[in-house]
Structures are given as C-alpha cells and as structure tokens.
C-alpha cells in the first residue's frame, strides 16, 4: 500500500467514515433536487436574445399570438360535406373556446362569411346551430369555392379534411403547466368527439401540441428509459462480475452520483428539459465504466492470490491515472457543449461534466471503502475470457499488415460518406413516427401539404399605410408570388378580404373582386367589416393597431432547415427589389429552428476543435510523448469519422443533437486508447519488444476495454428507444462511435503501433 496517495490510504483505512460522509453528502446535495422543475416548451431551445426568437416575439406582440392547437377532422366518408361532420364542426368549434387560455377559434363553422343584401353588408357564421341539412351543406360548398382564405386552411383542397384552429395566448414565465393543461383538455375534447361521432378521426397538431409532445416524450423518457437502463446495467454488471455484492456497490456509487449531480443542478437553478432528463442515463453509464475498471482489476488480482487490501491497492494504483485522465477528458468534452447555441445542450454538457467528475471522485474514494467493507468473494470464477482476448491479440499481430490497408480503405470510404450528411433541424421531425403528434403532422402533411409556417410582416411605417392602394398592390403581389412558389401550400392574406369586401359593397358584382381604388374606400370597407366581427375573430392577427403593418401567413411543406432559410432569403430579396420602401420581416417557430440548427452547428465546430486541442494536450501530457499523443489523436478521431460516415450512409440528416456528438464522444472514447497506450508505453519502458508490449497491453487492458465499451454502448443505446429523435439519434450515433472506437483500438491501433515502431526500431538497429 506504499504507492497509494495518502487520501486513498485514508479511505481504505477508515471505510465506515467514508461511507457516512458519502451518505451525508448525498443528503445535503440531494435537497437541491427539490428545486428542479421541468420545462417542455420549445423556447428552451433558444437563448433569451436569440435574434429569430426576438423577431418572432415582437411580431406576436404587434399582431396577435399565433401559437395554436389544431384539430384535424377526418371523416371516414369521402368528404366533409356530411351532416354529421357539419354538426361535429359546429359543436367542437363552440367547445374549443373552453380550451384553457384560448383566445381565438377558427373553423368552417364560424368563418365570417360576407355577402351583400338589400340594406347592407352581412357578415355571419357559415354554419350556425342546426344548419346541418343537405341544402345548407350545398350552400356552404358553393360559398367557399372561391375563398382562398378558407380552402387549404380550414378545409383541405380535396375536401377530405376540415380544420379547427385554436389560437392560444400563453402567459410569460413557466409555460409547461399551462401547456400540459391545454394538451390534456384538447385530448379530452378529441376523445369526447371521437366517441360521439364514431365515423370521424380527430388528430391534434399545432405549436402548442408540439410543446405538449415535448413535455410528454420527456416524461416518457424519464419514466421508461431510466428504469430500463438500470435493469440493463444491473444485468451487465452481474454478468461481467458475477457478484451481487459488486452490483450493489456499483449501484450505490451510481445512485450517489446521480443524486449529487441533479442536486447540484437544482441548487444551481438548472431546469429539466427534453435533453437534460437524460443526464442520469449518461452519468450512470460513465460512472459504471469507472467502477468497472477498478472492480475488474481488483478481481484479477484476487484471482492471482493477493490479499484483499493488497489487491485493492494494486487495482487502485493501476487505474488511478487512466480514470483521472479519462474523467478529465470526458468532462472537457462535455463542457465544450457550452459552445452550443442551444441552452439545453449546454445544460446537458454541464450537468454531465459535473456527474463525470463526481463519478471519478466517488469511484476513487467511496468505491474502495465499500469494497473494503465487503467480504472477499468466496468463489472467484476462473476467467476464460482473457485467453480469448490474448488470442485476439495474437491474431492482430499476425495480420497487422493486412489490417492497415483495410482500415485505410474503410476510413476513406467513411470520410467520403460523411459528405452525404446535411444539416436538418425540423422541430416536428424530432418526434418519432410512433408519437401521436408526429402522426398528426404526417396526416396534416398528407392532406394540407405541411404545417411549417412563416409569418411575413410588411411594415409601411405609416398610420393607415396598408390601406394605401400602392402598398396594397405590393402586398398582393407578394401574396401572388408566394402562391406561385412550389413549396408554398397556403397563404393567408388580408388582400383577399379587402377584394371580397369591395365586391360585397358593389352588390356582389364579381367585376369588383379587386383592390379598392382609394385609401379612404379601403379604410372604410375595412372599418365596416371590422365592426361586424364577433368576439375573438378580429383582424388583429393580420393587421396591426394603427393599420401600418400587415401579416401574411404562408404555410410551407415541412422543408429541411437549409431550404427553409433559403426560402426566407429568396422571398426577402424578391420583395426588396419590388418594394424597397417597405420593410419585410419574417418569423415563425419553424424559422427559429431552421436558424438555430445552422448557428449551433457553426459554433459546435469551434467547440469540437477546442475539445480536440485540450484533450490531445492532456493525453500528450499524460503519455509524455508527442509521438504517442499523435497516435492517440488519430485513434480518437477515427471513430467519429467512421460514425458520421455510417450516418451518411444510413440517414444523412444532422440535427442539433448530433452536432455536439464529436466533442461529446471524443472525451469518452479516449478511455480505451489511453488505457491501451499507457500499458503499451509501460511495457516498452521495461524494454519489451513492440510485439510483446502490444501483447502485454492486450492482456492487461483488453478485457476492461471490451467490458467498458459494452457497458457504455448498452447504456447509450437505451436512448435509442426514446420517441424523441434528438435523444434517440444521439444514442444511436454514440453507440456506433463507441463500437467503432473499440474495433479501432483493438485492431487498427496495435497494427499501427507495430508498423510505426518497427520502422523506428529497424532504423535504430541499422544505426548500431
């Protein structure tokens, strides 16, 4: 025990004190978990001062809010022109006003249809109570035929789906309780009406439903994935160590790490989000890896007949440097997520980094103390696996000349496939096809063409400026241009209303379906129309307070983020040329996600580079050799290259969670290569040959490398089961990279060392 640092010796000599201190620390920090609260709304993905978010919020304040819940009503009969569907539309429209925080409900039923009669302008609901008969259905069908504000918005172009759109006014602050209340209420309405009208399917879509889905999937993750991961890890440890006591000790360490991490997060004021609910999963995985290194070596030493203290001390000394180093590099990797533009990814990085450091401390202090308290396992299973690992080592040794070129080919192909990847952040596609929200989105896409909208606001900066025929012509031109774009599915425009009013004021003469000639006429038609609208259906969603600005809402296909931002630029450029004196702004949640994805990727490139530099320096410092540092750098970069190559083959879509993958995994996969290189270096220093050194490294750490990789891969692959693609993609990609890292460290790294160092050795012999 002489080599032990004083603190480690103290831990082993006073195990009970250590355990008591550990429990106290858990209790003290654990109280912080009571400060944790959950936020599921999409705003958690954006910084307070995110430019697109600010633009969106301003637009929501100037006009009315556009956050919504959408009921998609799909009758089983051939179209919506059925008495039951009309009855459903009327009743559900009325009930939808009771959704918490709703401020506006729009559907075919309460569409404010305008027409002229002898004495005046009539503005009335299209479907009133009891108007479900065939004559009225035919009347509605005919009436809405020319209405561009209805077709493609409140009813699909093929007449097979009707839409009820409910605008929600969410107060500032913690929105999640409200969102969940709204979600719950909407689902109850859906269930009620599906029961009452069995020949209809009802689906829920819209931004608030998306927020609700964020919250629900996160809860789902927390309640299913975390327990599942514990089961998997328990099984793994039991299989690998074949000891219940060992499992119990590991669980104590893991549990302590999680409680302390989340507790510290709580004290610090971090909230839980769809990303951070998975911090426990990641922390567990990393803590298990630390513990296993010590336990596996401890077992090996016991097997060799060493006494308990001696075996433990030796295991400690052997693993100390590697555990410290990998914990630091892992923490650095996660800390680099602070470069991310997405706040919850930074939270994920910081919390996991804290967890990694805690896991390191606990596995170097509490773990040995607990092992000291436990009796020595009676029967120690004779290890037959180590022989297999040794055999693998020999095989690699014999074939290293072939392994190298194959590795080079695989690597080149992978790097080529990396170019298949493209950035794509579409919020609705964060949800798996199995999630009800995503199914609604797909249905909406099928019938309406899409649900991603961009709100365009045209500012004239002049009171009553939008009534000016010159400005109105330009807004109308913008609408026409938007409608001519292939990706645009629907445009809601105030110009359509004013044209129709002009016609209505001229006794419904179709020749007058055009913009009024003068500003006064336009203003006065608009006034009489506005004075006729009932509660909640005012024009403020399209026209601002002093009638100086107008909002045109375009619904697009669910495009990738690049196409989306490109569309925004294209429209702005086009409009700038047409009307340079008018100001055009664009904003929407979909646009916010499209921009954040690109900005996040840009900053994560720097984050990954920073991680690369810091981690490489740490390794070089630990190995005290530039040469081996460089070797490890190559070995640590290759898995990510292979991982992104495989991704390019499989899907090619990179979202914000994958952009952090490089800096995140690099810190963890360093583990394997560093262990291997440290052992190899130690052997070389003992004047062993390259071949013997590689064999020694295989023998001493091969098993631990495989064990930890299997544990890590198993832990992270649990995330693959999440319905939330930011988590499942992260899980899948991380697993791929871990397995690639193991193969590279076991096959490529030894071959590469033999090729590299043999060269040097032969030169050295020549010199003699």
């Amino acid at each position: 025990m002489q080599n032990l640092p004083a603190w480690a010796r103290w831990c082993m000599e006073k195990p009970k004190t250590v355990v008591v201190l550990f429990l106290l620390a858990c209790i003290v920090t654990g109280f912080g978990t009571t400060n944790l609260y959950f936020r599921g709304d999409y705003k958690v993905f954006f910084e307070e001062n995110d430019p697109q978010k600010l633009a969106y919020e301003e637009m929501q304040n100037v006009f009315s809010k556009s956050e919504n819940v959408t009921f998609l009503i799909l009758p089983k009969s051939e179209n919506v022109y059925q008495p039951e569907t009309f009855e459903l539309l009327y009743k559900l429209t009325k009930d939808a006003w009771h959704i918490p925080l709703s401020i506006r409900v729009e559907s075919l039923a309460n569409y404010q249809y305008t027409y002229a009669d002898d004495e005046g302008l009539v503005v009335e609901d299209l479907i009133k109570k009891g108007q479900y008969d065939k004559a009225h259905i035919d009347y509605v069908r005919k009436s809405i035929e020319p209405l561009k504000n209805v077709r493609g918005r409140l009813i699909s172009d093929n007449n097979q789906m009707a839409v009820i759109n409910v605008t929600i006014q969410l107060p500032d602050g913690d929105q999640t309780p409200n969102i969940m209340k709204i979600g719950e209420f909407s689902r109850q309405l859906k269930a009620k009406y599906e029961a009452e009208f069995p020949d209809h399917e009802i689906h829920l879509s819209g931004i608030v439903s998306m927020n609700d889905a964020f919250a629900l999937t996160a809860m789902d993750d927390a309640s299913t994935l975390i327990p599942l991961m514990f089961v998997i890890i328990a099984v793994m440890i039991a299989l690998l160590t074949r000891s219940k006591a060992a499992s119990a000790v590991v669980f104590a360490i893991v549990g302590g790490t999680i409680i302390m991490t989340m507790g510290i997060g709580g004290w610090y004021g971090v909230f839980l989000s769809p990303s951070t609910v998975n911090v426990p999963t990641m922390v567990t995985t990393l803590a298990v890896a630390d513990c296993l290194h010590i336990i596996v070596t401890y077992r090996q030493k016991l097997q060799k007949g060493l006494a308990k203290e001696q075996a433990l001390a030796e295991s400690f000394v052997i693993n100390l440097k590697a555990i410290l180093l990998t914990s630091i590099t892992t923490a650095v990797g996660f800390l680099m997520l602070n470069f991310a533009e997405v706040p919850i990814l930074s939270h994920l990085g910081n919390l996991t980094a804290i967890g990694v450091v805690l896991a390191c401390i606990l596995s170097l202090t509490v773990l040995p103390a607990m092992l000291m308290l436990l009796p020595v396992p009676k029967s120690i299973v004779v290890d037959e696996n180590n022989e297999k690992v040794d055999k693998l080592g020999h095989w690699v040794m014999n074939h290293h000349r072939r392994i190298l070129p194959y590795s080079a080919i695989i690597l080149t192909v992978s790097v080529l496939f990396c170019f298949n990847n493209r950035l794509n952040d579409v919020a609705v596609e964060y949800f798996d096809m199995s999630s009800p929200f995503r199914q609604s989105v797909e249905i909406q896409k099928k019938y309406m063409g899409g649900m991603s909208n961009i709100d365009f606001a045209v500012y004239t900066d002049e009171v009553y400026g939008i009534n000016d025929p010159a400005a109105m012509i330009e807004v109308d031109a913008l609408v026409k241009w938007l409608r001519s774009q292939p990706e645009v599915k629907h445009v809601l425009s105030f110009a359509d209303i004013i044209k129709r009013l002009n016609m209505n004021m001229h006794g419904d003469d179709p020749d007058y379906y055009k913009l009024p000639e003068s500003k006064e006429l336009a203003a006065q038609y608009l006034l009489i129309y506005e004075m006729s609208l009932p509660y909640g259906l005012d024009l403020n969603n399209q026209i601002d307070l002093d009638k100086s600005a107008v909002r045109v809402i375009a619904v697009l296909e669910n495009l990738g983020s690049d196409e989306f931002t490109e569309f925004e630029t294209r429209t702005k450029d086009w409009f700038d040329k047409l009307a340079p004196h008018l100001r055009l702004e664009a904003a929407s949640p979909a646009l916010m996600f499209a921009h954040i994805g690109a900005r996040n990727m840009e900053s994560m490139v720097w984050g990954s580079l920073a991680a690369l530099v810091v981690i490489s320096l740490l390794i070089t410092l630990a190995l005290r050799s530039w040469r081996l540092g460089l070797v490890s750098l190559i070995a640590n970069l290759m898995p990510a290259g292979v991982g992104f190559g495989i991704w390019g083959m499989m899907s090619g879509e990179i979202n914000m969670a994958l952009s952090v993958e490089l800096s995140m995994t690099m810190g963890i996969i360093v583990d394997d290569s560093v262990h291997f290189l440290l052992k190899y270096q130690a052997a070389r220093k003992d004047n062993m040959s390259v071949k013997d050194s590689v064999n020694y490294a295989f023998h001493t750490v091969g098993r631990a490398m495989i064990t930890t990789t299997v544990v890590l891969a198993a832990g992270f692959s649990v995330l693959m089961l999440s319905d939330f693609r930011l988590n499942s993609d992260m899980g899948l990609m991380t697993t791929i990279i871990f397995i690639a890292a193991l193969l590279i460290d076991l096959l490529f790294l030894p071959s590469f060392l033999m090729w590299l160092d043999k060269d040097k050795k032969s030169k050295a012999t020549e010199a003699i």
């Binding site: 944790l36 609260y37 959950f38 301003e58 929501q60 304040n61 100037v62 009315s64 809010k65 006003w97 009771h98 918490p100 925080l101 709703s102 401020i103 004495e119 005046g120 302008l121 009539v122 503005v123 009335e124 006014q169 999640t176 309780p177 969940m180 209340k181 719950e184 809860m219 927390a222 309640s223 839980l272 009171v463 009553y464 009534n467 004021m505 003068s518 500003k519 006064e520 006429l521 336009a522 203003a523 006065q524 038609y525 006034l527 009489i528 506005e530 004075m531 006729s532 609208l533 009932p534 509660y535 909640g536 259906l537 005012d538 024009l539 403020n540 601002d544 307070l545 002093d546 009638k547």
Partner: protein
C-alpha cells in the same frame, strides 16, 4: 419524475378548484338586483348628451394609435338608449358615422355611414361581443346599461380607493354575449361603477375596466372623464378620455335615424 407528477397534481387541483360553482342564494340575488336598479335609477332623466372623446389603443409591444370621435346620446326612457358616433380621425375614416339603438329585450340595431362611397349600411347584430373600432371595448360594453340585460348576485362589501363599495356579479342574459359574467365594484354613496372585471366564455378573467375622474353634471349625474380597459390575457389596452361633455343640447329622436346618418357632421 416526482417533479412532473407534482406538476400534474397541481394542475388537477387548480382545475378542480376552478370548477367549484359559486353558490348564490335568493337573498344575495335580490340584493344584487336592488343595487343594479339603484344604479339605473340615479341615472334617469339626463335626456341627452354630446361628448368629444379620444380613444387610445395600445398593444403588447407598447405601440399606440389614437382615434377622435364625437358621441351624441339620447335617453330612451322605455328602452335602451340611442347613440350616434361620428369619427373625426384618423383621416381615412373621418366623417364615418355609427348609429346604434340599444334594446332591452331584443338584439341591438346598428348602422354605419361611409362617406367615401356615400352609403348607409346595416351591420349584423349578432356581433355584440365583437371589438368596437379595433379596441378592447366590445359593442356590448359601449351600449347603455339596462337592468333586464343581466341576472344579479350580491357578493359582498369592500373598500375601493378609500370608498365603500358593493361588489356584485352580473350574468348576461343574451347567449351572444362574449362574457360568462362581470364583477362590478359600485360605490355605496352614488351607485357609480368604479371597476368592472369581465370573465370570458370559459370563465377566465378577460378584461378589467376602471372608471376614473368622475365629475358631477347638472348637480345630479356622475360621468367618468376617463375610462381604461385592460385586456388581462393579451396585455392590450384602450383608454377613453372625454374632453368635453354637454348635457341638454338640442337633440331629438329625428337626429337618430338612419337618414340622419348622412347628415351627421
């Protein structure tokens, strides 16, 4: 996880609390009606008024827009009042006139005169819940107070800015009203409404209306010179400021028919 559970429990508890009905008994309903009748009673016999008013709209972003108008009102002792509103600004709607007949037992009637096309148009009547001139005031907030329009309930006594007030609730009789109920703070000395809280159809607080700067006219009639409507849900607001108020000018029934609209200046 426990946090989430706590959250949903809290949500459930809140919903349960909101759905507990307010129990009204006969006595409190009677007292409520008495107060409403007294409010109407102190405001009889004013005959007619002419007011010039500035309306200031404000949105959540803090932008403001103003409208100038003159309102001529005629008391109709047996029915709701008649009002003629002439808009003076903004320029594009200047000269537009709006005539409304408020009725006790049937839907109100409304006409509008547009000076551009020089035409009088009737406006549909089911929109009483709709906003008046894009403001936070609904049509039904602008028409005269008539006792049969609501059922009443007396809630209690309170102090409002140092004055003793009754707190009553009134539920609109008309199904087209945009409100499920209104809560009023009415002072005991003059039966003047000081504050009104409007609840939307789903029962949530929607708007708050405060009357300020009450002045006494003809030693008998109190009128607020300022009123302020604040939308609690959208953070938009509308302020009405009366600059000039004349009682007993030469107005008669014939000044309030759809033909007179064209002559309105």
């Amino acid at each position: 996880m426990t946090q989430l559970r706590k959250l949903s429990f809290a949500a459930l508890a809140v919903t349960a609390m909101l759905s507990v009905p307010v129990i009204a008994d006969e006595a409190s309903e009677k007292e409520g009606l008495r107060i409403a009748q007294a409010r109407k009673e102190v405001n009889r016999g004013w005959d007619n008024t002419v007011a010039s008013i500035t309306m200031t709209l404000r949105n959540a972003q803090g932008q403001e827009a103003t409208r100038e108008m003159r309102v001529k009102t005629l008391e109709v002792p047996t029915d709701g009042d008649k009002a003629l509103t002439i808009f003076d600004s903004p320029r594009d709607i200047s000269g537009t006139a709006f005539l409304s007949f408020s009725h006790v037992n049937e839907a109100d009637e409304q006409w509008i005169y547009l000076p551009g096309p020089k035409m009088v148009r009737r406006i549909s009547t089911s929109n009483k819940s709709g906003p008046f001139l894009g403001s936070e005031y609904a049509f039904e907030d602008m028409t005269s107070f008539e006792v049969p329009k609501y059922t009443y309930d007396y809630i209690g006594d309170e102090k409002f800015e140092g004055d003793d007030v009754y707190v009553i609730e009134q539920v609109p009789v008309d199904e087209f009203s945009g409100y499920s109920k209104q809560r009023l703070w009415i002072d005991k000395t003059h039966y003047r409404p000081r504050k009104v809280l409007f609840f939307d159809r789903k029962g949530d607080e929607l708007k708050e209306l405060e009357f300020r700067d009450y002045r006494l006219f003809k030693d008998e009639f109190w009128r607020p010179m300022k009123s302020f409507m604040y939308n609690l849900q959208t953070n938009k607001s509308t302020k009405l400021v009366t600059h000039d108020l004349q009682f007993g000018t030469e107005l008669e029934e014939s000044d309030f028919d759809s033909k007179s609209l064209r002559r309105a200046r």
